[in-house]
């Protein structure tokens, strides 16, 4: 693997983790009965940008390296399902995250007063942030499982 690809992979992992952690924090803050939205707004902005960064860097690594060098090793190894189930699911479920995070980001920035005054809106914004975290965390663990299958 070239150093450019290695840095790409590291950036993909770090940005993905930042996005996951940011939306976990948004989720937790919104679940509080009374919560100021200053931090959730900043965190949703950071998380959304991170997911887009992770999308581009991960995509570059996936297209340039994974398919040619990693996928054949996994498919010919002991755990071919690590690619046929985990990678295939991970790469497609990931595509939902940037769009869901944009929607949460816009809601927090444009509807701050309404989220504060409407419990239902606040609760479901929290749930959607939680879902982004859960999906992101599952995708992160899937990445670990795929890496383990290569070894």
């Amino acid at each position: 693997m070239t150093s450019v690809l290695a840095y790409n992979l590291i950036a993909h992992i770090l940005l993905g983790l930042i996005g996951v952690i940011a939306f976990y924090a948004v989720w937790m803050i919104l679940l509080k009965e009374k919560s100021a939205l200053k931090w959730p707004k900043i965190l949703a902005f950071v998380g959304t940008l991170s997911f887009f960064g992770s999308w581009i860097t991960g995509g570059y690594y996936y297209v340039k390296f994974y398919g040619k060098a990693v996928k054949p090793v996994i498919l010919s190894g002991k755990y071919p399902w690590a690619h046929t189930i985990i990678t295939e699911s991970k790469e497609h479920i990931f595509l939902l995250l940037p769009f869901l995070s944009i929607a949460v980001f816009l809601a927090l920035w444009l509807l701050e007063d309404k989220i504060q005054s409407n419990n239902e809106l606040k609760k479901w914004t929290a749930y959607l942030s939680g879902l982004i975290f859960v999906l992101g965390a599952i995708i992160a663990f899937a990445g670990v499982a795929i890496s383990s299958a290569v070894k």
Binding site: G59, I85, L96, L121, W124, L131
Partner: protein, 101 residues
């Protein structure tokens, strides 16, 4: 308000699109080949088309979405369709692998 409602509905519909193009692409090889030919890789094609679809839906819903007091319906729609779409993708690949054995 319309901006947020449009974003939630567009994200929800993109989730359905991702499921559709993923499953149909696996079952109908010419679609996956078309994505590869036009976007260098099927996943890049799905990524680009998802982004274009999100933007197109977002802009069109800005003009068509009723101005709700609170965008609770579109928010719940995005939440549930994201769960159903993720489960559909996972179960499709589980089913495909089970068929191969």
């Amino acid at each position: 308000m319309k901006v947020v409602t449009s974003a939630f509905i567009s994200a929800a519909l993109v989730a359905v699109f991702v499921v559709g193009i993923t499953i149909y692409g696996e079952l109908y090889t010419p679609l996956k080949d078309w994505l590869k030919v036009n976007f260098s890789h099927h996943w890049v094609g799905k990524s680009v088309l998802s982004a274009i679809l999100f933007l197109a839906l977002f802009i069109s819903f800005l003009f068509k979405t009723p101005n709700e007091k609170f965008p609770n319906f579109s928010l719940k729609l995005a939440f549930w369709l994201a769960i159903i779409s993720s489960a559909a993708i996972l179960f499709f690949y589980l089913y495909e692998v089970s068929l191969a054995h």
